[in-house]
Amino acid sequence: MLIDLNADLTPIKFFAEPLTSEKLSRFSEAVGAKYSGTVAPSFGTAFRKAEFQFLDRLKVDFKNLLHTDQEYEFLGQLGVGDIPEVETKMLSARERRGMVFVVMETTVSVKGQPKIKSVASFILRENNKV
């Protein structure tokens, strides 16, 4: 079995550390971009902690995990000093033809106002098969 079908899949909610210019600039530097004081388009990836928690709960073998799709919808601006509240939900985890397809949705809010909604899709292969 590729995943633990009895895993706890209740949504995970947490407060991320406050956004600082150091954190934002470190992300921009890591992707070879110039930090201009704004949040990089894919910075939402820094709020994926709960996705990894879900993958741990599902007992996913990371060797067999492929991140296949990522979507972001920007509903507002994040900025320095914000304390993002992150909620991740498991939208689906289904097995088909020897592979498992996992889809998770994460909403990043500040003071109750949604700022980023993201959907991440993964495929779990069996024994390194694509």
């Binding site: 470190r26 992300f27 530097e29 990894f52 060797k63 991140h67 990522q70 390194n128």
Partner: protein, 133 residues
Amino acid sequence: MKFEVNQPLKPLEKPPLSREQLKSYAEASGDNNPIHLDDNFAKNAGFPSVIAHGMLSMAFLGDCIDFNFPRTQFALKKFSCRFKKVTFPGDVITSKGKIKSVSPNGSLSVLLWAENQSGEHTCEGEALIEPLS
């Protein structure tokens, strides 16, 4: 600024991917999957060496969006990406794109893709961008 369908974006080429960059990106993003950091782990997964984070390629596309559509003039509303091919240290990734459609209110739908040095698409995406009024 006027845009037309199929108008190409200014491409953005990055320096070759390095293991140091993968470490930096892992720290900055919180994605510490050992497949990006540990050669033995990556080999056990069937790859010849560590592979770059797919999200790093998406970040390159994001940088290409900012390069072509400065935040002082445009707002990014949606951004999606499908990962097509793994990338490795040493690969040279160039982000490219073109205008897919222009709506009457000036909103732009933009196709994006990242190419390796062989011209293979490593990821393909789309963005919805609105001009600031």
